[in-house]
Amino acid sequence: HEGRSLAPGCHLHPFNVTIRSDRRGTCKGAHLVHACVGYCESSAFPSRYSVLLASNFTHNITSASRCCTISRDAKVRSKFAWTAPEGATNEEMEILTARACRCDMCRKSRY
């Protein structure tokens, strides 16, 4: 994600997805799609007593966080023409791309 700005918020960011003709990567192509990249607010602070009680006094920190997520996506069709020693093939495939982004719940930040 080089080239993005260090600005608060969650924004569409173009990047190239690499498509391979086979597992060995005999032929490769690139298609421009969008990701969501950004800086959303998050904080951590002492837990309320009810949280302490419910966690048997192990969770003394509470995290309130938002992460940059894809709020709307679309499938785009892309056509590829491969020219390999075995012959030429045409392939059409669907690739997901982000259409809109937003700071939303961090569903995958837990460890």
């Binding site: 994600h1 260090l6 600005a7 608060p8 969650c10 960011h13 990047f15 997805v17 498509i19 799609v33 990701a35 969501c36 990249v37 950004g38 800086y39 959303c40 607010e41 998050s42 904080s43 951590a44 602070f45 002492p46 837990s47 309320r48 007593y49 949280v51 966690s55 192990t58 969770h59 003394n60 920190i61 509470t62 995290s63 966080s65 992460c67 940059c68 997520t69 894809i70 996506d73 690739i95 997901l96 791309t97 982000a98 982004c101 961090c106 569903r107 995958k108 930040s109 837990r110 460890y111």
Partner: protein
């Protein structure tokens, strides 16, 4: 940090935080302490293989802390008046550790 700087701030830093310390059987006490606040880099990007979306999620949380204890006022007889809470010494963008944190 000034309000204008906070609007543009990117990163994760120690920030003053005030909360009411209370527990059943005692009066409440407003405590001002150091906690964590910021904006960490996160992203979601489409990929060709299942689950078709790759993500990177880091949150601003305690990296280093110490415990502080205060005595709550007006506790009923038999109620332990001490209240212990974490004070942030260093904050970082990292994963939310479910063993110590309510994520």
């Amino acid at each position: 940090m000034l309000a204008a700087n906070l609007r543009r701030f990117v990163g994760c830093a120690v920030r003053e935080f005030t909360f009411p310390a209370r527990k059943p059987g005692c009066g409440s006490l407003h405590i001002t302490t150091d906690a964590c606040w910021g904006r960490c880099e996160t992203w979601e990007k489409p990929v060709l293989e299942p689950p078709f979306v790759d993500s990177y999620q880091r949150v601003c949380t305690y990296n280093q802390s110490r415990l502080a204890t205060v005595q709550l006022p007006d506790c009923q007889p038999g109620v332990e008046p001490s209240y212990t809470y974490p004070v942030a010494l260093r904050c970082d963008c990292s994963v939310c550790v479910t063993s110590t944190t309510e994520c």
